[in-house]
Amino acid sequence: MKISIQINASPYQHQAADTAWHFIQAALEAGHEVYRVFFYHDGIFNACRDSRPPGDERDIVKRWSALQSEKGVDLVVCVSSAQRRGLLEKSVAKKVGGYIHAVADGFRIAGLGLLMESVIESDRHLTFGA
């Protein structure tokens, strides 16, 4: 089955990012395809490169990056949600004099069109943190 995921809540304060991650692991293990993970609302904070949790805790951001590099899952951060909250894509940051390394490895910044495309393309669309 083709599954797309939407994450609406920030990491650490909400369970959404954890539950979604575990769900994705289980789905991939069961042979399903995870078409895309779309980060919306405060969910964009899952892509904060400079998140530095204590060493004995799970690193949610790194965990997402690894999901992309190891399993090839498409991680997309909504551009308007991200800009509103101060997470700028490199080219935009350069243009406005913002921080250019804000977005962690493996994430790409794009518009809502990509959310809608994955909703249409997938058999199931699951929202975490609604």
Partner: protein, 130 residues
């Protein structure tokens, strides 16, 4: 934002239910949720917008969120027909809870009972909330 490159030539049409069950002010999620609704319509999907619970208050006439330095969402709701979103429904029971009558609603919406909404929800391919 390589939208064109990733889109298939022919898109499926799905029935997408968007459930607004809280006010559109107070945080930015309501506003961002409306963006998804408009995007779904721009992708020619069959869009149904449902107001229920606290969300029915979003339809009340003569709101002045500007007093609180908040964005007025009424112009966006007024835009729905322009996007061919004409299937807007309000839950009758929720209106009764808040003592709202049909002529207090700022936009054209069908007042539908909870049991009929339940039946309609079965026709949805995806449900969205925020």
């Amino acid at each position: 934002m390589n939208l064109i490159g990733t889109l298939p030539l022919v898109l499926d049409v799905k029935t997408l239910f968007f459930i607004i069950n809280k006010g559109l002010q107070g945080n930015v999620c309501g506003q961002e949720f409306l963006d998804i609704i408009l995007m779904a319509a721009a992708f020619d999907q069959k869009v149904v917008v449902l107001f229920e619970g606290d969300g029915v208050n979003a339809l009340l006439k003569n709101q002045q969120p500007e007093c609180l330095n908040l964005k007025n969402m009424m112009p966006v709701l007024d835009t729905l027909p322009v996007y061919d979103i004409n299937d807007v429904i309000v839950e009758k029971e929720s209106m009764e809870v808040y003592g709202l009558t049909e002529n207090e609603l700022a936009i054209k919406a069908a007042v539908v009972s909870r049991s009929d909404i339940k039946k309609r929800l079965r026709s949805a391919d995806h449900l969205f909330g925020f």
